[in-house]
Symmetry: C2
C-alpha cells in the first residue's frame, strides 16, 4: 500500500463512520510534513450548513492549526472528488496536491449533485438553473477602488 | 432605483466598510420575504479562513437564521460575481436567484483569482495547476454503499 492509498483509506474510514453518525458519506484529511493536521466529515444536515462538506471542514481546521489562510506544502486526501465549491476552496487555500478515491459520477449515482454543478458552472450565467444576473450599479467599483488605494492590505 | 439596485447598494456599502476594517473588498446580503436575514463580508485574512468569502459567510448566517441547510425562496445579493467556490455553495444552498454588481474580471483586475479559478475548474483534473489525482482504492465505494443501505437519512 502506498502512502497515498493509506491516507485515502483514513479519509474513507471517516466517511463510513460519518454515515453511522447521521452524516453524509464523505471524509477528508489534510497532511503536512507527513502528519495528519486536520480531518473533516460532511455535516451539512447535522449543522444546517450547506458549506460543511468534508473538504471545507478540513481546510478550515487545517488553517486554524497552521494559523494561516494558506495550506502551503499540504496535501488533501478526500474520499470523493471535490465538488466545485470544495475545488474552489482548494484553489484559494492552495495545497500542493489533492488525491481522491470515488469520482463526481459515483457521487451523482447516490444522489449528490456534484456532476450537475460542474455542468452548471461552465454555462453562461443567464443559462443556469439558478438565475444569476449582473446589474452594474453606478457605485459598483467603489470597493475595488478603495482596495486599490489602500496601502496596508494583505493580498492573497 | 429598483429593489435589486437598492439591495446591491447595501452589499456594496458592506464591502467598502470591510476594506476600512482590514477586510477584503466584498460584501453580500441575503433576503427572505423582502427582509435582510443575513449579511457577510470577506474575512479570509482576518480569520485565517480561505472559505470566509462574503457569500459563504452570508449563506452560513442565513441558514443558521432559518434553521435549515436550504435557502428556499431567498435571494442573494453580492457586490461581486461569486467565485466558483461561492457559486458551488449557492448551488448547494439553492436560493431562488443571485444578483451581483462587479464581474469576475473586475475582481481579477485588482488581484483576486476568480477568473483564473473558473478556467481551472473547466480543465480535466490532470491538467490543472494544483495536481488533482484519482486513486481508486479497493474500498472506495464503502461510504456510498453504506449510504445506499441506510434507511433513515436526510437527502439533499
Amino acid at each position: 500500500m502506498t502512502i497515498h492509498t493509506s491516507f485515502l483509506h483514513q479519509a474513507i474510514e471517516l466517511a463510513v463512520d460519518n454515515v453511522k453518525h447521521s452524516g453524509g458519506p464523505f471524509g477528508a484529511i489534510i497532511i503536512f510534513n507527513d502528519m495528519v493536521i486536520a480531518t473533516g466529515v460532511n455535516r451539512v444536515t447535522a449543522t444546517h450548513d450547506p458549506t460543511a462538506h468534508a473538504e471545507i471542514v478540513a481546510i478550515r481546521a487545517a488553517c486554524t492549526y497552521l494559523n494561516s489562510f494558506q495550506l502551503t506544502d499540504c496535501i488533501l486526501y478526500s474520499s470523493c472528488e471535490p465538488c466545485p465549491m470544495c475545488l474552489g476552496a482548494i484553489y484559494w487555500a492552495r495545497p500542493s496536491a489533492v488525491y481522491y478515491a470515488s469520482s463526481r459520477f459515483d457521487a451523482a449515482a447516490v444522489g449528490f449533485d456534484d456532476s450537475f454543478i460542474y455542468e452548471q458552472l461552465a454555462l453562461p450565467a443567464d443559462q443556469r438553473s439558478i438565475a444569476t444576473q449582473q446589474i452594474v450599479t453606478e457605485n459598483h467599483s467603489a470597493p475595488f477602488d478603495l482596495w486599490r488605494q489602500t496601502q496596508e492590505k494583505i493580498e492573497y
